[in-house]
């Protein structure tokens, strides 16, 4: 392997990938497409032949915990805040003299007279060989901290649910961009043509008043072809849309109808007639 490529892979950390959001992966996708000499072959529907560098990751599991507890109460131990309890955030400065509060403030709170600092009220202790600080709320997670990477340097400028979760899943606060999974599907392709590259376990309806809304765009393909959109595995009804045979058609009946269908579709492509690319619906 080329040493530069190794270097590149080494630089492509989880952190940089996440920080760059969709763009990071988009860059990878573009690079792999450009590495392909025959663009026409691609237009004909050929699958990408491979990556421009050997893939190490085989799959990514991404849990998006909409409505999870705050990091301040779980992993982000901030012992110094105890002393600053009730101090006004707007008055706080870093050592370099910069204001601590530099982002805009949601209109939920921007009208408040004071912005008091509120430290976590839970106890933190160090765990595992790595000595990761974990709060008492996560006694079980605390036992396996050596196997978990916790990134504490993430930040966002989004101040609202919709733009924030759209940003974290698509790299942009506004709708229209492909989601993380769609980029992976587009850029890395599939090892198996019989299964979707990107599946999403969509949420069920809790009916809770405060449960935040989600959006199909969070696993959508944006401006990429829709084959890259997440295939939803649903908690209710058919796990995959329209997976079940209709009432009154059993598996044998369906098998037979598919065979007939294939036979008929093949007829129009073969024989004495000229070719009209029955199977290439995308042209």
């Amino acid at each position: 392997m080329h040493s530069l490529e190794n270097e590149h892979i080494a630089q492509m950390t989880r952190r940089s990938l996440l920080r760059r959001g969709g763009l990071g992966i988009g860059g990878a996708a573009l690079a792999s497409m450009l590495a392909q000499p025959d663009i026409l072959a691609r237009e004909l529907g050929a699958k990408p032949e491979g990556l421009h560098h050997p893939a190490r990751a085989k799959r990514a599991i991404y849990l998006f915990m909409s409505g999870a507890p705050s990091q301040i109460d779980m992993f982000d131990y901030k012992p110094g805040l105890k002393d600053r309890f009730k101090a006004d955030l707007r008055e706080e400065k870093y050592d370099d003299g910069n204001n601590v509060l530099r982002t805009r403030v949601t209109t939920m709170t921007s009208g408040q007279a004071t912005f008091p600092i509120a430290p976590s009220k839970f106890k933190f202790e160090q765990h595992g060989q790595c000595g990761r600080w974990v709060s008492e709320l996560l006694p079980h997670t605390a036992k396996m901290v050596d196997d978990i990477a916790v990134i504490k340097s993430m930040w966002t400028e989004a101040i609202n649910h919709d733009p924030a979760i759209t940003y974290i899943t698509t790299g942009n606060q506004l709708p229209g961009k492909p989601s993380l999974g769609a980029w992976l599907s587009y850029g890395l392709g599939s090892m198996n043509e019989n299964l979707p590259t990107f599946v999403v376990m969509t949420p069920s309806w809790t009916g809770r008043q405060d449960a935040q809304a989600l959006y199909n765009r969070l696993w959508g393909s944006g401006f990429l072809p829709s084959e890259h959109q997440g295939v939803a595995l649903r908690p209710k009804g058919d796990p995959v849309l329209f997976l079940s045979n209709p009432d009154g058609i059993d598996a044998t009946g369906r098998r037979k109808s598919l065979d007939v269908l294939n036979q008929l579709n093949a007829t129009c492509c073969s024989g004495k007639r000229s070719r009209n690319r029955c199977q290439d619906r995308t042209i």
């Binding site: 809304a213 199909n216 908690p235 209710k236 009804g237 329209f242 129009c268």
Partner: protein
């Protein structure tokens, strides 16, 4: 200075022919061969964006002999070896190499060779083709044998240059299918097919095209492409994603296409319909284009930021749709590839930032500014209603004036009616549930002191004597010695009483009996606004529901009067009163109050007797239980009457039981278990209408004097106010009210309340304390109407009619659809350059942005106003290089499957080059010069021989031109989502051809909306429409929820409509196959297609003919012998299967809606045949030929 760009202009050489594939391929063309390399490899750093241009390497100067800052000459025409640009590309030195290693870009050897040859040939520059206005070109005389139409001549020339030959014309059946799908989105009907095949005249095809262009389906089909571009949706798109009502815009677009509105006019109306002189309703609807972007009302959102996003969307969309440029790139920085500077962007922004809508949509469907939309017929009906109202109001006023004396007398009587002898009641015991000290201070006055709890319940007991009580009066007194004389114990002196309850108590200890006393009406001399005294008897105790005495707003005593439903005469028993203070307002209880009673009142108010209950009648059959009369429904009410409940176990006698404890406004539990119950009471009305509010577990029906007035067959747990309706009664005439409750199992219960006091003279009580001249118009109206209602029959009818007309007008206005429109602020809102696109970083030092169009495009016409109207006029101007090209290219894409410029959304430097540049220019000019006539253009396209070619072609053709860029074959591709579903509905005979109206909701799998829904959203739960009229409409009418678009659409590559999209991708996925095979709507189509060939005249047809008939119906051609064989064999096999599996047959043919055309088959014993035919039809509707246009 934008060094590269400006430098390029200095060198500009006019080169007329910028064809993609040059005739002489040895000549290198800048636009075709060189710009793409530079754009891809160099412009990121050396392009237009001053922000990312590296200072050290700022200028790849294309200018001859000019030195770069390094002292080298980048391009020396004729001398590649001396050109720095070449030297740097080939350099091995990591500090010199271009592009630098960290860019991960590399110039390939082929690209390098091109660059070298270009420089060797003199390095001639061309401006980007799309920014130069199209010039008239001579139509090449390529091959008159094939066709002499201009389109074909251009296409043929290009084919010839690439060694290709046109394909023969497609057969006529294919042709009519193709052109009908392309112009209407629907398949031809069998009759249309037959007629066309029979017409052998040379004009047959043209006549067909003209007919299609004249059909209303044409406008619908054209519209659905536009809806992607206009980002049309039926919801707001962000956060709650509530309903947005803007479908009149969609209907306006349909109408515009059908009436062939010239495209320049269409453009003006979309962008600036509101700025036309005296805009019509339609012009305003059209201006909704600027309002179709997504909006939000999320709590916490910063309105200024949302505002900027909304405006950015308007600019980007306008840029994409009308200019084919990616304007959005210039929000944060100068465009990296195209000459759109951020300054250009914010200049354009300044035209679109002056709409006077609130950036936050309030989660409302009618996010202002909106207009109500009326049809012509609607407007006439509305005007006549308003005229009638005017007349009625006049008569009411006349009558009222004429009856002066009677009125005085009536008012006098009303005024004094409650001014009776209220006698004191002395409490026997007093109790506060929370420990406040209650004491009787004489004269029945109660004082609360000591503990001052947040909430409280006062319990007062009075021993009753011989006197009959018909009303109670609660006086809230004030302590004159206190600073705040409001009457409440809270610091602000206010009090809010949640509820008053009364009971009759007899006996003591275990023997004690307690029955509720029903209070039928209340009134007060004062109620705090929104804290009406009516809340005292509504059975509701919550945070804000109660009678407020307004102690913080006013001073002095006040009182409430409570009318008992029936007079109480119970010597020796105890009257217990409960006063509950249970709102969120702390310590809002009375300090000093007095209860008094009156013996009788000469005041007209509606009373109702106690409830009697009868049941349960046992009946397990749900329908029978609800429908059957078990005795009392027809019979006159008699207390002693006996009834029988008959079951298999025997007969049970039943009698009416008295239930005085069923007090209005609370839920009453009945014994559990399946059964039918009846409830009865007599109403003694003083009014003519009574609003009833019901709750029931489960089904409920209501009769008044033997006439059914309400029925609701539901299964539900009981709750307050589940149903509401109004009954008519006659004042002075007792009415019998009968309620039937049918329990389908489990718990059973009943809730009843009425607003009988609303039209009652009693309700006017608070008004009598005011002088007439202090009453407002609506209060005077109340008095007026109350008087006329009781005066005589004719005055009552007058008032009743007025009420009906008022309701009708209100309903009419409420049901009028609204639609979002544009409205310009005057004076215009200033716009500022936003640094890095940040809403809160306006560059005030630069001053307000000047409204101007980019200098690399033609100037604004002299006489155009400098606003959105000006932008529209500028776009449609003769010299605009983009507008006409972008437009014809989009229509071309619609018909041929791909544009002459493949990237129809991007005509910029990064976009694809036109495959047929001369043709594109010729079409653009021809379109503009012929009045932007869309139907004419569409006709030109489909009349061309190019379009009419067969899509079958020899292998060699596919090898030479796999994607058919040179159009040597007819178009063939998978149908778009809408056409696919519409085609299935059409061939199966289900399609409802109705134009326009609100979005409809054909069935979709459960849970798709819920998976993404916010509990508070009004589109969180999907409820499918039921009637044929709605579920079988064309797909462009399907309700579009943007955060969860209809799966039948999104599975087939439709965009989400969250932003402007003018080119859909076309993919093939297994999900599509699953949908076509299994979606109940597609199965329903198969079932319906099958039914067409099994009923009526065709009922006796042989199976083979059925199969063949369905095939022809679906595909517009008979099956080949081979195809028929395969299908018939399958059909035979399925018939055998369903004959031996009747349950499966029933299951399959039960899919979908009940349709009248199925009645005959359903009644017959042919379900196996129907099921087998359905399975066969399901195969036919999945054939490749069915899902494709070819």
């Amino acid at each position: 200075m934008k060094s590269l760009f400006i430098a390029i202009f200095l060198l500009a050489v006019t080169i007329g022919n910028h064809s993609l594939i040059a005739q002489d391929s040895s000549i290198i063309e800048f636009n075709r061969d060189i710009r793409p390399i530079l754009a891809d490899k160099c412009f990121t750093c050396h392009g237009n964006d001053a922000g990312t241009r590296k200072p050290i390497s700022a200028s790849i100067e294309l200018k001859r002999q000019r030195q770069a800052s390094s002292g080298e000459i980048p391009i020396v025409p004729g001398e590649p070896r001396s050109s720095e640009i070449i030297r740097r590309i080939v350099s091995d030195d990591e500090y010199e190499q271009m592009p630098p290693a960290e860019s991960k870009k590399k110039v390939s050897p082929e690209e390098l060779a091109l660059l070298e040859r270009w420089i060797a040939q003199g390095a001639k520059y061309q401006p980007h083709w799309a920014f130069v206005a199209p010039k008239k070109v001579v139509v090449p005389q390529s091959d008159a044998h094939w066709s002499n139409q201009p389109i074909d001549q251009f296409v043929h020339e290009k084919m010839r240059g690439n060694g290709l030959q046109p394909s023969p014309v497609a057969d006529r059946a294919t042709l009519i299918r193709r052109v009908t799908l392309d112009l209407t989105g629907l398949p031809p009907t069998p009759d249309e097919l037959k007629a066309f095949l029979a017409d052998n005249s040379p004009e047959a095809y043209e006549r067909l095209v003209d007919r299609l262009l004249g059909s209303t389906a044409y406008g619908e089909h054209m519209t659905r492409f536009w809806l992607d571009a206009a980002r049309y949706g039926d919801t707001h798109g962000l956060h709650l994603d509530n309903y947005r009502e803007i479908w009149p815009y969609r209907d306006w677009v349909i109408h515009s296409f059908n009436h062939n509105m010239p495209w320049n006019e269409f453009t003006i109306k979309n962008l600036a319909g509101d700025l036309l002189p005296e805009p019509s309703q339609e012009d305003l609807i059209a201006s909704g284009f600027n309002r179709l972007h997504v909006t939000t009302n999320e709590g916490g959102a910063i309105p200024e930021e949302v505002f900027v996003r909304n405006v950015v969307d308007r600019v980007s969309t306008t840029g994409t749709v009308f200019m084919g440029m990616t304007w959005g790139c210039a929000v944060c920085h100068d465009h990296k590839y195209d000459p759109i500077s951020s300054d250009d962007f914010y200049s354009m922004y300044s035209y679109f930032n002056s709409l006077d809508d609130n950036p936050m949509d309030q989660n409302a469907k009618d996010h202002a500014p909106v207009i109500s939309v009326m049809t012509d017929e609607g407007r006439m009906a509305f005007e006549s209603l308003k005229a009638e109202r005017e007349q009625l109001v006049q008569s009411v006023d006349d009558q009222y004036a004429n009856l002066h004396d009677e009125r005085e007398q009536w008012e006098q009587r009303m005024r004094s009616a409650l001014d009776v002898d209220w006698f004191e009641m002395h409490p026997e015991s007093l109790e506060s549930s929370q420990g406040a000290t209650l004491e009787h201070t004489g004269q029945g006055i109660v004082l609360s002191s000591g503990e001052n709890p947040d909430k409280d319940v006062y319990r007062l007991s009075y021993k009753l004597g011989e006197i009959e009580i018909s009303a109670l009066r609660l006086d809230v007194l004030v302590d004159e010695s206190k600073a705040r004389k409001g009457g409440g114990r809270s610091p602000n002196a206010n009090a809010v009483l949640s509820e008053v309850r009364a009971y009759l108590v007899s006996g003591e200890g275990e023997q004690q009996e307690k029955t509720p006393v029903s209070i039928s009406s209340v009134t007060a001399d004062y109620s705090q606004p929104t804290y009406s005294v009516q809340n005292l008897i509504d059975g509701v105790v919550d945070a804000t529901n109660g009678w407020g005495i307004g102690g913080h707003l006013r001073e002095g005593p006040c009182h409430a009067i409570l009318l008992l439903n029936q007079p109480v005469h119970a010597p020796g028993k105890t009257l217990e009163l409960e006063l509950e203070f249970g709102t969120q307002f702390k310590q809002h209880s009375f300090e000093r109050f007095q209860i008094r009673a009156a013996q009788n009142l000469d005041v007209p108010y509606t009373r109702m007797s106690d409830w009697h209950r009868l049941g349960p009648f046992l009946e397990s059959d749900r329908n029978k239980a609800f429908q059957n009369d078990f005795g009392p429904e027809k019979a006159k009410f008699q207390i002693g009457a006996t009834f029988e409940s008959t079951t298999e176990q025997g007969t049970q006698p039943l009698k009416w039981e008295h239930h005085p404890e069923y007090v209005d406004g609370s839920i009453h539990e009945f014994p559990t278990g399946t059964g039918v119950w009846y409830l009865h009471r007599t109403i003694f009305p003083t009014v003519d209408r009574i609003k009833i509010s019901l709750g029931s577990d489960d089904a409920v029906a209501v009769w008044v004097d033997g006439q059914q007035v309400f029925a609701n067959d539901v299964a539900r747990p009981v709750a307050a106010n589940q149903d509401a309706f109004e009954i008519s009664v006659t004042p002075g005439k007792p009415a019998e009210l009968l309620v039937k409750i049918v329990n389908y199992g489990g718990g059973c219960g009943f809730y009843f309340d009425s607003k009988r006091g609303e039209n009652d003279a009693f309700a006017l009580y608070p008004l009598w304390n005011n002088a007439e001249d202090t009453l407002d118009a609506s209060e005077n109206d109340l008095i007026k109407q109350a008087f006329l209602r009781q005066h005589n029959e004719s005055t009552r009818e007058l008032v009743q009619r007025l009420a009906v007309v008022n309701t009708e007008i209100e309903t009419f206005e409420k049901t009028l659809p609204t639609t979002l429109v544009s409205r310009e602020m005057v004076p215009a809102r200033p716009a500022y350059f936003l640094k890095r696109g940040e809403y809160d970083k306006p560059d005030k030092d630069r001053g307000e942005m000047t409204r101007r169009v980019p200098d690399w495009l033609p100037p604004m016409p002299d006489d155009a106003p400098n606003d959105r109207m000006g932008i529209a006029l500028w776009l449609i101007g003769e010299n605009h290089p983009l507008m006409a090209r972008v437009t014809v290219n989009r229509f071309w894409q619609q018909v041929f499957g791909r544009g002459i410029v493949k990237t129809s959304e991007d005509f910029g430097v990064q976009g694809a080059l036109p495959t047929h540049p001369e043709l594109l220019d010729w079409l653009a000019i021809d379109f503009r010069e012929h009045g932007w006539d869309v139907k004419r253009l569409m006709k030109q396209l489909v009349m061309s021989e190019t379009y009419r070619q067969s899509s079958f072609a020899p292998e060699s053709s596919w090898k030479k031109d796999p994607t058919n860029r040179f159009l040597s074959r007819g178009p063939r591709y998978r149908l778009d989502a809408e056409s696919l579903r519409d085609r299935a509905l059409a061939v199966s005979g289900l399609l409802v051809e109705k134009i326009g109206g609100p979005g409809v909701k054909p069935p979709q799998p459960d849970g798709l909306w819920e998976a993404v829904g916010y509990v508070g959203s009004n589109t969180a739960k999907f409820v499918a429409d039921m009637d044929d009229e709605k579920i079988h409409r064309r797909s462009l009418y399907t309700f579009w929820k943007r955060t969860a678009p209809p799966p039948q659409m999104s599975t087939f590559d439709s965009p989400s409509r969250e932003e402007c999209v003018i080119r859909r991708e076309r993919t093939n996925t297994p999900l599509q196959a699953l949908l076509l095979l299994n979606d109940p709507q597609f199965v329903e189509c198969a079932k319906s297609l099958a039914a067409r060939f099994l009923t009526g005249e065709q009922a006796e047809t042989k199976p083979e003919q059925v199969v063949s008939g369905m095939f022809e119906q679906a595909l517009g051609r008979p099956p080949s012998a081979e195809e028929l064989n395969v299908l018939a064999e399958f059909h035979l096999d399925r018939t055998a299967y369903y004959e031996s599996n009747p349950d499966q047959a029933t299951a399959l043919i039960s899919t979908g809606a009940e349709m009248p055309q199925f009645a005959e088959l359903k009644a017959s014993d042919r379900s196996a045949a129907w099921a087998a035919t359905t399975a066969t039809a399901n195969v036919i509707l999945n054939l490749d030929e069915f899902v494709s246009k070819q």
